[in-house]
């Protein structure tokens, strides 16, 4: 949308107006500032990732060589091999995918139901439940972590399986569930009630109206919540550690890549213990291997983001995750 250029005398004014927030054309100086800012910040965001990537490809000599700060003199994949062995990567990856996918699917469904109920229906005690919802968002998870853990223990749920993940997420108590419910609540509130009432007049029951009208209408919110909770589950450490139990290990029970990354140093020493004693200098854990491990544990997220970024960005626009 472009307005016609103003008169010459007003040009100075014209540039000033474009400083912030306007959708019209911008002056050259402003454009320069804007793009400089954008590129600088983009660089700040990319810098650690690029650093991680270039480091992970370096051999031992490059690590010590100060001149090879960015570009490795010889690209080696041996770091990745070591990291894969250390984290038992493929095994951990599948287990992690199982945890994140199953929890996310349960969480999205239940949170959608709850958000819809809050947005669509009026019932006695609604405000109290809303208050509980907000409170559960604000209260640090650590406060109730131990009772929850004891609760799980008394039902013999913490055995390194998916059980605690499914039970919490199917009951709307998964990781950051309150945020998901609030997103759905906000979204369903914006959907015109008349659409759903029209369906009800046409003979659809409440449940049918939800499944056939409300769910298709809230596709944008569903995408956002699915992506977010998948990412959150992927990145969570403390909660996963609690649910899997302290004695759990990756050979017998489930694990996640973030857990493996957290104990990377110990695992590395365990995997390469025999070598480390005989040839201490060649097999010592170095930064490149750590960076390779970090790269590997965020790689699935990056891949997903790369392919779904359009849906991600667009549905964030549509879903309106703000609460007014």
């Amino acid at each position: 949308m472009r307005l016609s250029m103003p008169l010459k005398g007003a040009r100075k004014d014209y540039y000033k107006k474009k400083l912030l927030g306007s959708n019209d054309r911008r002056g050259w100086i402003m454009s320069f500032v804007v793009y400089l800012l954008l590129i600088t910040i983009a660089f700040i965001y990319l810098y650690p990732v690029l650093y991680m990537f270039s480091r992970s490809l370096m051999g031992k000599n490059d690590l010590l060589d100060a001149s090879a700060k960015w570009i490795p003199s010889s690209v080696t994949l041996s770091n990745y091999n070591s990291a894969i062995a250390t984290m038992d990567y493929w095994n951990s990856l599948w287990k992690n995918l199982a945890i994140a996918l199953v929890s996310t699917l349960c969480q999205v469904f239940v949170c959608s139901l709850a958000g819809y109920a809050f947005a669509r229906y009026n019932f006695p005690g609604k405000m109290i439940w809303m208050g509980v919802l907000i409170l559960s968002f604000l209260l640090p998870a650590q406060t109730i972590a131990v009772p929850n853990f004891l609760l799980f223990n008394s039902f013999k749920l913490v055995d390194g399986t998916l059980k605690p993940f499914i039970i919490t997420s199917i009951l709307g108590q998964g990781f950051k569930s309150c945020l998901c419910i609030l997103i759905f609540y906000n979204f369903h509130r914006q959907v015109p009630q008349s659409l759903i009432e029209a369906a009800e007049i046409d003979g659809a029951g409440h449940i049918k109206a939800y499944f056939q009208i409300a769910i298709p209408l809230s596709a944008a919110a569903i995408i956002v919540v699915t992506l977010f909770s998948f990412v959150w589950y992927w990145n969570e450490v403390d909660l996963v550690r609690t649910y899997l139990g302290s004695t759990n290990d990756r050979n017998t029970g489930l694990t996640t890549l973030m857990l493996e990354l957290n104990k990377f140093e110990d695992s590395y020493n365990a995997v390469y213990a025999t070598h480390a004693q005989s040839t201490t200098s060649t097999n010592r854990l170095n930064d490149a291997i750590k960076m390779a491990g970090t790269m590997l544990s965020i790689a699935p997220m990056m891949l997903m983001y790369f392919f779904l970024q359009k849906q991600f960005v667009e549905s964030v626009d549509k879903a309106g995750i703000t609460g007014e």
Binding site: N23, Y45, L46, W129, L138, T143, L171, E236, T322, E324
Partner: protein, 309 residues
Amino acid sequence: MATKKNPLAKNRITKRRLREWGYGYLFLLPWIVGVCIFFVYSMATSLNYSVHKIVFDQGVQTQPLEFWYKNYVDVFTLETDLPTTLGSFTISLVLQLPIIIAFSLIIAMLLNGNIRCRSVFRMIFFLPVIIATGPVMNMLTAQGVATVPMMSDGSLTQLLGNLPTFISEPITELFNSLILILWNSGIQILIFLSGLQKVSSTMYEAAKIDGANGWESFWKITLPILKPIILLNSVYTVVALATGGNNEIIELIYSATYLTPWTKGYSYGMAFSWIYTAIIGVVLLVVFLLLKEKSDKHVVYEQKRIKLH
């Protein structure tokens, strides 16, 4: 009396109302069951345990303490690091909160503006949401990547050397963690962005016709409209910083609860976390009071408008 208390009794179609209540609770049922078991019950248990001594003897047994708030007193006497940790946490919170809010607002406005390669920039700028996580950030901080390159060559340190230490120290600290701060503002950018998209362009056009420049319309239009969102974002930021995985106090609670079970243990850890909850509550209250609309007319009006629709 009953009719007076219940305004719905006036309503003719009570049967329909009842059905609506029923379906409301039906849809909410899984969450209500969950919240009662894993939140309300756990919160009550946690409070109960924090004023008792826990003994593991055929399940969990609670024993009375010498006086009910003993665990709470113990936290203050045993946690010798607490005042300094709490102090540094508060200082970093006070420094980081405005920066995160300002940065994410600026970035959101840049992304919302008319720019080329918007999708590329957006993809990069949402990167933190995807990968800013505890272990990854720990790895990066350990590598020293999470600082501004200018710090390492000492040019900035020299510049700041002329200032008195009490000013230069927080600034140095700030520059050191600038990247981390930016990395922590992914969600906030998203929230601002979707807030900005709700501001209709007609308002800016009207302001422009009235002779306002971009600067003025930012302060008079964008900011007032975004004010509730700024509050929301601040609350989110405080909660995220206070409960995030890299928080030192959380580490203290964790180690007290799990790593020193004989000296401190579960009930101590729970008392500790309740104290921490109270502190966060106070911080949130301060944030809320500071950012609350001076006159709530706008919000109330908006809410009324939304309800009417």
